[in-house]
Each structure stands twice: as structure tokens, then as C-alpha cells.
């Protein structure tokens, strides 16, 4: 028997120029990335962006049109799924309905000829890890969605793959259970140290769990980095809008001031750190997250970058914060989230206000970006 990659291959997942074409349509378009061993990696994007196709190619369930996939030094591009050092947690769990929970989890071990005693030990261990040892003799249809989800994870990780793929694993759960499972999955990943590649369209889920997020759009990676990096310094408007919300205001770079760029926004001069800029020319979009704005009645003290002449056009109180829509003199509305952490009076609809923010809390995109791309 040839060396079995399903146990021997270890190391980083290396994807090179991966492309998947359906007719004229590039589902995955020349994708290259390295996922370091032991990391929790999220592929984040809207439906149809190619993230699931990418995952299925890694699992061997789809054949790439071109490009290569390797784990460490082992090329797995043309390997049959059952020979890959990869296990998958499927979207609908795909548990075997005719087998007990114990046999579901034991399935992979038995296929590899692990002895009965060892199977029992391993399955018991992993059942304890997901805290469901009492369910071993049940059938999958006797379990709740959350329990099935955990069994699906257990069935995959018991094989100690180099790589665990999770295809929207929490999509079918309700919000509360999803939050709980996010924390549990993160804990399990830390506990066993396997590389997790997690596909999701839920930006909050990706940010909660992943060390590194790749934001995908139209078969390409828009940007890759830690959650903080992507949130604070998005390089495209798609990322700025898909990960949280952003106000993107068109402006022109007029000069430099030390480490800052000086940008004119409809007559207001503002400063943004150079390191936060991904602009190529002088025409730019300045991005400010809604919660970074400070809003005050016109004439009250405002420091840092200032935009004057706003009028409150809508107020919604949502407990932890109050959300304002502020109409600016140039006709666009900006979104502002104010923490309800002081006893300041609410600003009322129609009131004239000044917006301000600290320069470090903004970023600059190239002016060729489409401001609404990736909006929810």
C-alpha cells in the first residue's frame, strides 16, 4: 500500500492559482493563499462568491479547472477525497441516518483499520470533548440540531486530520445556539490544534472565531488579515461595507502633514494617517465607521477631524447605542452610532450638528472604488 497522505501529510495548506470554471463563469478565479498550520481561518463572503467551491476543491469533492492544492509538501490536487488528510463538517451535518452516534463517529477510524479497542477509546474521548457521551447509542434523528452539529464536528476531528473544513456549520442553528457553538468551536480548535478552515457568510461569526479572515468576492480574495486589520484598515469598499458598516466620503488629497495625509471633503480639511491609506491617486474615499463619529449640537466644541453643517434626519434608540442618520450639506446621509454612556440630551430630528472623529479612526480607499460595493 502506498504511503497514505490521510495520516502523513502535515503542514500549511498552500493553494496556488486555483481556478474553477463553470462554462463561462469563474466561480473561483486564480486564487492563491497560504493557511498556516494550526490556524483558525475563515473564508468570508456573500453567497455565490466562490467560498464553498473553494472548500469543496480542498475536500476533493470538486475538481479544480487549474491550479494546485498542497498540505505541507504533499500535493493533494488530484487525490481522491478518501485519501486526503482532510475532514469536513457539512452544512447539514450529513450524519449517517442508519448508524448510531457511536458508529457515525467511528466511521473514519474503522475505514482506516483502527482496532476495536482503540476505536472505542477515541470515540469516547471525542464524545467527552463535545460533552455528549450519553448519546452514543442514539440515532442521528433523535438528536437536536445543536447536538447533531457537535456530533458532526466530533465525527471529523476524531480522525485528527491535518485540516478540518467547516462549511457554514452553524447556518441551521438559532442565534443563541450559534453564539454558544462559536465559542465551543473556537475552544475545540485551541484544544486540539488542528487547522480549521471555516466558510461563512456571517461576518460576526468569522470575526468571533477566526485568527485570519479572507474576504472573498466574485471568486477572488478581496483582502486577507486579522479581524482587527480588516475592520480598521479595509483596502476595498467591498471589505469596508461587508465587514461592519462604513461611511465612505469622496475627497481629494491636497497635501501631507507629517505622518498624515491632508484630504479635502466638500470644503472640510481632514487628516488621515498615511499607513491607513490604500489610495493610488489623489482622488480618494475617506472611510469612517459609524461608531467612530462623535456627534454634537452645532457650535459645541469639536476636536480632531470635523465635518460641519449636518442635520439630523433620523434617530433610532436601540439600547446600548443610539443610531443617527445625519444629512450633510452635499446631500448624502452619514450613519452615526453614539454609545448611551452619558446623560447628554438626545439630539432630535432636524437639529443642526457637527460631526468629528480622531484621525487614527479613519481610513482611505482609492477613489476608483464603488462606495456602495458590499453593502448589506
Amino acid at each position: 500500500m502506498a504511503v497514505d497522505a490521510s495520516t502523513s501529510a502535515k503542514g500549511d495548506l498552500i493553494i496556488k492559482n486555483l481556478t474553477k470554471t463553470y462554462g463561462e463563469f469563474n466561480a473561483v478565479d486564480d486564487l492563491s493563499l497560504v493557511i498556516p498550520k494550526g490556524s483558525f481561518f475563515a473564508l468570508l463572503g456573500p453567497s455565490g462568491c466562490g467560498k464553498t467551491t473553494t472548500l469543496r476543491m480542498i475536500a476533493g469533492l470538486e475538481e479544480p479547472t487549474s491550479g494546485s492544492i498542497s498540505v505541507g509538501t504533499t500535493d493533494i490536487t488530484d487525490m481522491k477525497p478518501y485519501k486526503r488528510p482532510v475532514n469536513t463538517v457539512f452544512q447539514n451535518y450529513a450524519l449517517f441516518p442508519h448508524l448510531s452516534i457511536f458508529e457515525n463517529i467511528a466511521f473514519g477510524l474503522r475505514r482506516r483499520g483502527v482496532s476495536d479497542a482503540e476505536v472505542k477509546a477515541q470515540v469516547d474521548k471525542v464524545l467527552n470533548l463535545v460533552e455528549l457521551p450519553q448519546l452514543a447509542e442514539r440515532k442521528p434523528n433523535q438528536l437536536s440540531g445543536g447536538q447533531q452539529q457537535r456530533i458532526a464536528v466530533a465525527r471529523a476531528i476524531v480522525n485528527k486530520p491535518a485540516l478540518l473544513l467547516l462549511d457554514e456549520p452553524l447556518g441551521a442553528l438559532d442565534l443563541k445556539l450559534r453564539r454558544q457553538m462559536q465559542i465551543e468551536l473556537k475552544w475545540i480548535q485551541t484544544e486540539i490544534g488542528i487547522t480549521f478552515v471555516h466558510v461563512t457568510h456571517d461576518q460576526e461569526e468569522a470575526m468571533t472565531m477566526a485568527d485570519t479572515i479572507a474576504v472573498m468576492n466574485n471568486g477572488k480574495i478581496e483582502q486577507m488579515g486579522s479581524p482587527e486589520e480588516l475592520y480598521d484598515s479595509p483596502r476595498t469598499s467591498f471589505v469596508a461595507n461587508f465587514l461592519g458598516q462604513s461611511n465612505l466620503i469622496p475627497g481629494t488629497i491636497t497635501g501631507n502633514d507629517g505622518d498624515n495625509l491632508v484630504i479635502e471633503l466638500f470644503g472640510n480639511k481632514v487628516a488621515v494617517p498615511k499607513r491607513r491609506s490604500s489610495a493610488h491617486g489623489n482622488s480618494v474615499l475617506v472611510g469612517i465607521r459609524p461608531e467612530k463619529f462623535r456627534v454634537a449640537a452645532e457650535g459645541k466644541g469639536a476636536t480632531g477631524n470635523v465635518l460641519t453643517g449636518g442635520v439630523v434626519s433620523d434617530v433610532s434608540y436601540i439600547g446600548v447605542s443610539t443610531q443617527y442618520q445625519v444629512e450633510m450639506p452635499w446631500g448624502k446621509e452619514l450613519m452615526v452610532f453614539e454609545q448611551n454612556d452619558d446623560d447628554e440630551d438626545f439630539l432630535r430630528k432636524g437639529e443642526k450638528v457637527t460631526l468629528s472623529w480622531e484621525p487614527v479612526f479613519s481610513f482611505v480607499l482609492d477613489g476608483s472604488e464603488i462606495a456602495s460595493s458590499g453593502s448589506h
Binding site: K83, T88, H98, G108
Partner: protein, 295 residues
């Protein structure tokens, strides 16, 4: 929405009230069963213990349970042959139907509906005609005999008709759709992602079939084998048209006793013995297959 938000008291009250409505719905079916199944069976049971009064076609109730034993001993050869032929026909039908159903369920793409229609197409022709057609196909002028003779698989003197071979293959052919459709239905219900999961968990194609596809399709296999075996065991048309005097099945004996010899008690006793034997056999089979809850 209005229905859902309505105070629940009244809705539940309706449920609690033991309405006669479900029984009304059942009534036509129950009546039908009573008229055309229960009554004839009771009649048959009465007949099975009668003895001849001496006049042809007249019988008197004598509670002669030895009728069962006597008739069974007389027809034990045909009895054994019925079960042997039915078993062989079921196995042949299974061997043909499973790959066929598998291909239709997983590999047929857009042709799926066309193929399903083709599977049931023989039903547009009467059972009798299909059996006669089978005689033609296997006949001296037919292609099957010619090809097998050319290939020296059978000798020039061997004929395929009027043989056990013709009876068994005729049974298999006639009941093939009953085998194919339940298997297809159970294969079709399998979530393809469980098959992907099996591959993901180190099972190759054959192991996936053995450990996932086959067990998940067992309800269809059990249903299909029963739907084939039961009518095949009681059939007499195939043996009549395709067989010879040495391939008579129990159905032929019953038919002869009823319509030719006018020995109703023996025919009735044999019918009951056959029914009991089939019941015992399938009970054992279903237990063995372990799918009581699925049939």
C-alpha cells in the same frame, strides 16, 4: 395567521371531541375489504374442511382438517417448486433491478423521468400478453435462442420455451417493475451529502456503497423482494404458458382443483397452506432484514 393567533381553546376542543369523521373516511375501504377479502376468506376457510357429498360440486361440512395434510402431501413437489422458482425469480429481478434503480437515481440526469416511464411501460400491456410475448422472445424463431446457439452456449437441440428457465425468467420479467420502483424510491431519498461524507471519511466508492448506500436502500430492497416474491410464489400463468408438465407450480394445482377437477376443499386447503407459508417466510425475512419499522 388568523387561525394561529386565535385562542386555542376552541381548536383543541375540536380535537378532543372524538369525532366520527375519521371512521367515515375509513368506511368505504373497510366495506370493500370486508366484501372482497374477509367474506371470501371466511368462505374459503369453511370450504377447506368440507368433504364431497358424492355429487359433483356438492360438499358437506365435516370439519376434516386432514384435508390440509392430504392436499399438502399430494402437492408437496409443486409447493417446493413454487418457492424455488419464486426465490430464483426474486434474485434475478433483484440483480437486474438494483443496478437499474441505482443508475436511474444517481446517474441518469435529465433522462430520469423517461427511464422511470420505461420501467412501468410494460404495465400498459396486460400480464397475459406480456407472458405470451416472452414465449415469442424465447421461441425457436426468436433472437435469444439464435444468439445462444450461435455462441454455443446452448446446443442446437435445446429449446428455451416450455422449460423451468422460461418460467423463472418470465416471473422475473413480469415482476421487475415491482422490484425496481421501491429500490429506486429508497435510493432517491438518500442525501447525496451523506455519500460525500463517507468519501470524506476515508471510504472508497465500493466501501461507501457497502456501508452507506446499501444499508440506506434496504427498505426498498425488502419492499421490492416482497412485492416480487409474494405474487411470484402464487403465480400460475407463467408456468402455464412458459412451462411444461414438470414445471407446474402450486398455483397451477389450485387452478386445476378449482376449475377442472371441481375439488373445492382441496383447492381451498392448498390456498390456505400457501398463504400461511408465505406469511411465515416473510415474517422471518423481515425480522432477519431488521427493518420491521420500515415496511
Amino acid at each position: 395567521m388568523a387561525v394561529i393567533s386565535r385562542p386555542s381553546g376552541k381548536v383543541f376542543a375540536l380535537k378532543d371531541n372524538k369525532s366520527a369523521f375519521p371512521y367515515l373516511l375509513l368506511a368505504p375501504g373497510l366495506l370493500w375489504l370486508f366484501m372482497f377479502f374477509i367474506l371470501p376468506i371466511a368462505n374459503l376457510a369453511q370450504m377447506s374442511t368440507k368433504t364431497s357429498s358424492g355429487e359433483t360440486g356438492e360438499f358437506v361440512q365435516s370439519y376434516r382438517f386432514a384435508n390440509f395434510f392430504d392436499s399438502f402431501m399430494d402437492a408437496s413437489g409443486q409447493f417446493a417448486r413454487s418457492f424455488l422458482y419464486a426465490t430464483l425469480a426474486t434474485l434475478i429481478a433483484l440483480a437486474i433491478a438494483y443496478p437499474l434503480a441505482y443508475a436511474i437515481a444517481f446517474k441518469s440526469g435529465k433522462l430520469k423521468n423517461v427511464l422511470l416511464v420505461l420501467v412501468i411501460a410494460p404495465f400498459f400491456v396486460s400480464f397475459l400478453l406480456r407472458t405470451i410475448a416472452w414465449k415469442q422472445i424465447l421461441g425457436e424463431e426468436g433472437a435469444v435462442t439464435a444468439i445462444l446457439r450461435t455462441l454455443h452456449i446452448i446446443s442446437p437441440q435445446t429449446t428455451l420455451t416450455s422449460s423451468a428457465f422460461a418460467v423463472v425468467t418470465g416471473l422475473a420479467y413480469n415482476f421487475l417493475p415491482f422490484m425496481t420502483l421501491p429500490i429506486y424510491a429508497s435510493l432517491e431519498r438518500i442525501d447525496p451529502r451523506t455519500l460525500e461524507a463517507s468519501g470524506d471519511l476515508y471510504a472508497n466508492g465500493f466501501t461507501t456503497f457497502r456501508k452507506v448506500t446499501l444499508p440506506l436502500s434496504m427498505p426498498g430492497v425488502v419492499a421490492g423482494t416482497l412485492l416480487t416474491f409474494i405474487p411470484a410464489a402464487g403465480d400460475y400463468i407463467n408456468a402455464n404458458i412458459l412451462g411444461n408438465p414438470n414445471t407446474k407450480m402450486l398455483g397451477n394445482v389450485i387452478e386445476a382443483r378449482f376449475f377442472k377437477i371441481v375439488d373445492y376443499p382441496t383447492a381451498a386447503a392448498l390456498s390456505f397452506t400457501l398463504m400461511a407459508a408465505i406469511l411465515i417466510l416473510i415474517t422471518f425475512y423481515i425480522r432477519k432484514a431488521g427493518t420491521e419499522e420500515l415496511v
